[in-house]
């Protein structure tokens, strides 16, 4: 079960600068912390986040162990054409989450 919250406008004017905000449930376990049995808890982080607008990449980032649990990522983009903005998080232990929103550009 993946849990994601997205804040994106439903409509935008062509050429408008819009903000897209994303929040995802993830432990972002650093791989440096000892667990209750004294052993190191294996690293479990999101490694990469990519956003595409109608298939074209508009934003991507590599995530590191220093990023907090449940990472909040926000970025700006220019509204070009109506369509689907898709978000994809991938990482350790085969983690994969995908979510999308549609935005009407008028």
């Amino acid at each position: 079960m993946t849990n994601v919250l997205i804040n994106a406008p439903k409509t935008a004017r062509r050429g408008e600068l819009i903000e897209l905000k994303t929040l995802i449930l993830h432990p972002m376990e650093t791989g440096f912390r000892p667990g209750t049995n004294g052993g190191i808890i294996p690293r479990n982080i999101i490694q990469r986040f990519v956003a595409t607008w109608n298939g074209t990449e508009i934003f991507s980032m590599d995530l590191s162990p220093a990023i907090s649990a449940n990472p909040f990522v926000s970025f700006f983009t220019v509204a070009t054409e109506s369509g689907r903005v898709a978000f994809r998080w991938s990482g350790d232990e085969g983690f994969l989450a995908e979510e999308s929103v549609t935005i009407d550009v008028v």
Binding site: L5, I6, N7, L23, I24, S68, A69
Partner: protein
Amino acid sequence: MTWSDRPGRRPALVLLALVFGASLAAAQVGADTRRSGYQDMGPALQKMQDDDTANPAMLFVQLGEQLWSKPAGAAGKACADCHSVADMKGVAVRYPAIAKGADRPLDLDGRISLCRTANQQAEPFAPESRDLLSLTAFVAHQSRGLPIAPPDDPRLRPFRDHGAEIYRRRQGQLNLSCAICHDDNAGKKLAGVTIPQAHPTGYPIYRLEWQALGSLKRRLRNCLVGIRAEPYGYGSLDYVALEIFLADRARGMLWEAPGVRP
């Protein structure tokens, strides 16, 4: 003179006197100086709490909503089979409470745990596990914006008094009471942190330091450890007694769960 001594007086005058009298009484009691921990946070954190897509606790509310309709246990029943979400409105603000026929108070997560074992006949949730906290956050969220309204149940009184006694008792290696910080020094700084008045308005909260959702009990444990006192065991009634006292002290304040705290 009582109002009934003067039947037939002009109603407008009586009304005026009533209104005047009431506002005078309010002025005598003094303005409510209670502050939620929310008001002691900076604008950035307040905005984080207010924005449902930036408040990380909402991820857990979402998780709780999924669990709400998932059947569990030998009864094969989901919470949703016995309760409507609308019925959960106003529940969180009157907990802890004592159920009819029971003799000990339960806080909200205690009540949900009881439904889990007694009504779903499922394995008990581990104390403060993610699933339990998420369900609690989901139920608590339904009461957002309502005033805290502890029940006027005389059976709660001895527990509240016990909570008040703990609150004022000096304890731990630092020999401090809750009241020394949260009544006498609230609003002042402890290291870089503003000492809040300790009103349980936002629980369960997403605490940035924890990077997780946590219960009021966890918060209380933090304060106990902070004064180098031995925290009570997970299921201890001492926590529930403190929770009853704190809820009573915050009566009428607005419920903001799930909150964000530094």
